[in-house]
Assembly symmetry: C2
Homo-oligomer: 424 residues x 2
């Protein structure tokens, strides 16, 4: 089954936003062993959208379109789809009823546009917004049009589109499985050598095992993809390859699954029943925000203090002002005092801290932009590391946050080791 995506919107063609909708669709389908053959991004022009849909329907069995269902006059995907199908747009009373129910007021002239759909098309419910989605069939190929607003698109795809795609999957298709392992602290060139041979481990000609890597901040995501005539075989091959990678890389693996380090750090603390606290400076809250994205983390995370000013470091974290004066706010000594300070004040089992120079200003010969000190602390002691990150301000912030989360993850694991030690 060949699947294509068409993302519409001038904001994409102007580079104002990156196309996260298509990435979400690719991930969701990939997790079910379905790939996307092509993504086409076009502006808001009716003819351009129609041409893209027409061409995709000729090549593929499933075409997923996002965007252009809003209430304004530059939302023209409905019109473009009607052009492709060679039918007129019709007012749909059930769409009007759903929109009125949602808005709790009579329909405006603008929203009236959203009640229209090509004749003969099926409407798809929008649980979190006004615009209904549209499904139409042409020469045996299906086209699904969904809103461009990410959370509306995600809900509609998950509940109303994906089940239909899976139900329509042909019997003869090869199945595939995907596994991800997240690796930290191993350079990409060394990693390639350590992974050699795994990709050619498929025992039969009808089977395949491929290994890909992708760098994300200071982390590398290893992707194992397998193919086989049955889904169980594909899953088994993927599990075996993941086991082999785990045995080769050991402690450098943050975890399995396409998650960030924050997810693995939060999981490690939650699974071990540890409480956490964070003290941040140059990352401005990104360390805590990463942890808070993980549902249920309130059982572990007590607080994060974004102590941006020196006064806040002293007052909130008990950092000795003399330390800041002697070594500077960006120093190993202050990072250590921040981690220990937030751990003691909060009573958390483990804590991490980071202080650095995100740039573009504030650097010097001794302490250049990108320099950061990261610390982790528990009752067993405090570790501090010095790191240097390149890139612009947001990149330095993200890489420093990732390094801090890695220290927190290591600290959470270390606790487990020590606890076992005491048993014997």
């Amino acid at each position: 089954m060949r699947i294509e995506v068409i993302a519409t919107g001038d904001e994409l063609c102007l580079g104002e936003i990156v196309d996260t909708n298509s990435a979400f669709l690719a991930q969701s389908l990939g997790a079910r062993g379905l790939g996307i053959a092509r993504i086409t991004v076009v502006g808001d022009g009716r003819d351009e959208i129609a041409a893209a849909i027409r061409a995709a329907l000729e090549r593929s069995q499933v075409v997923l379109v996002t965007g252009g269902l809003g209430p304004t006059e530059d939302d023209l995907t409905r019109e473009a789809l009607a052009d492709v199908l060679g039918v007129a747009l019709q007012h749909r009373p059930e769409a009007e009823a759903a929109i009125v129910e949602r808005l709790r007021r009579p329909l405006s002239e603008q929203n009236r546009r959203q009640t229209r759909a090509p004749a003969g098309a099926t409407l798809l419910a929008n649980a979190v917004g006004t615009a209904p989605g549209i499904r139409a069939v042409r020469n045996g190929a299906s086209v699904y049009v969904m809103p461009g607003v990410p959370h509306e698109m995600r809900a509609m795809f998950t509940h109303h589109v994906l089940p239909r795609i899976i139900a329509g999957r042909p019997d003869g298709d090869a199945f595939s499985a995907v596994r991800y392992l997240v690796v930290h602290g191993v350079p990409e060139s060394q990693l390639a050598a350590k992974l050699s041979g795994i990709a050619s481990a498929a025992p039969e000609a009808s089977q395949s095992v491929t290994v890909g890597t992708r760098v994300r901040s200071g982390t590398i995501v290893v992707r194992v993809r397998t193919g086989a005539p049955e889904t169980q075989t594909a899953e088994r091959l993927a599990a075996a390859a993941a086991d082999e990678i785990r045995s080769r890389l050991g402690e450098s693996i943050a975890g399995e699954g396409d998650h960030g380090i924050a997810y693995f750090a939060a999981r490690a603390a939650l699974d071990r029943g540890l409480t956490m606290a964070v003290a941040e400076s140059c990352t401005g809250g990104l360390v805590a925000a990463g942890l808070v994205r993980v549902p249920g983390v309130s059982a572990s995370l007590l607080e994060s203090v974004v102590a941006y000013s020196n006064d806040s470091k002293v007052r909130r974290l008990g950092v000795d002002p003399g330390l800041i004066e002697r070594h500077g706010a960006v120093s190993a000594e202050v990072a250590r005092a921040m981690a220990e300070g937030v751990r003691k004040a909060s009573g958390a089992d483990i804590a991490a801290s980071v202080t650095g120079i995100a740039g573009p200003g504030g650097g010097s010969d001794q302490k250049p932009v990108g320099l950061a000190y990261v610390a982790s602390s528990s009752r067993l002691g405090t570790d501090v590391v010095e790191r240097r990150f390149s890139g612009e301000r947001p990149t330095v912030m993200e890489r420093a946050a990732e390094a801090t989360l890695w220290m927190l993850l290591r600290e959470a694991r270390r606790k487990e080791v020590r606890a076992t030690d005491t048993v014997f």
Copy 2:
């Protein structure tokens, strides 16, 4: 001049990374009044890449291809381009010399692939990597192939591709100008009515004014794009349209330029010499992280306390435990106490706070997932608003952060008004 982009790579079709290269190209071209008509994303397959290049060359005068120039066997853009041109790949001694110079070692078998280019093509120097770029012409249309590694692509595009595109721009082309205004708190359908007529305000047939909107969390970005035979006229039309929108929307405008609310809040505080502090719960640090992304904000932002546990709210922010017991941690009363608490403890001029239920757990009939209370505080008093956000946990976090930044921005503006009041 019609321009298209083709981005290649399995990692894009699998949704493992979002396509930031195409966004960069669109921004760079847009800043020079050039638009991108279409972006096509394909995997690493030679035939799929060739088909995409062939189709784009038939529609457009300039085709920009990124990715697939690496040293490994799944890098097949060179081969695909040769297929399209109907010529063979040839070894290019000047490419070999450049790669050896860069690597400072004899060529490996893998790097040897990077010395090949379609017969008759022009090589483009790569100042920061090994793979040279390629330029070829077919029926008067130009195709440029650049590496997929973002910093290599950016350098090559800026120095070797963009100047050629600009030099090849036909004389008759219209120039365009773009302006952005960021609006908060106005529903999209109401906004459309308020903007009516602006798009048709172009006084002459050779001129155009278009208005587009894009929703980003609780915020709408209004884009004014104008076209005219000369760049000054396009700029003037855009300025006039922006003035008109500003006069119609007044206080609902966060600012001008394609920035987030965090940027405008930080700028407002910095411009007025105000210090800020934040107390966050469900947003987990996103409010502060948004502010910290703005360079120079250390002159204004003192601290943010991510008081995730009740104990932290009491200990760090001085929230009365009785308030939490009577009203719950997610309540107007606690939001008020958090904002006042962090303002007093830090000594900041203005403060904002947020407490809410990000989900998926933790909701109830009285307090559903998505409920949040947002407060802002200054010596003039404290305001609290109740908000309800839909979407999944990360979406609720982002929308709650945006609402908090908006309260902070309003508070920063309000100070200015009051200060003027005292003068008279």
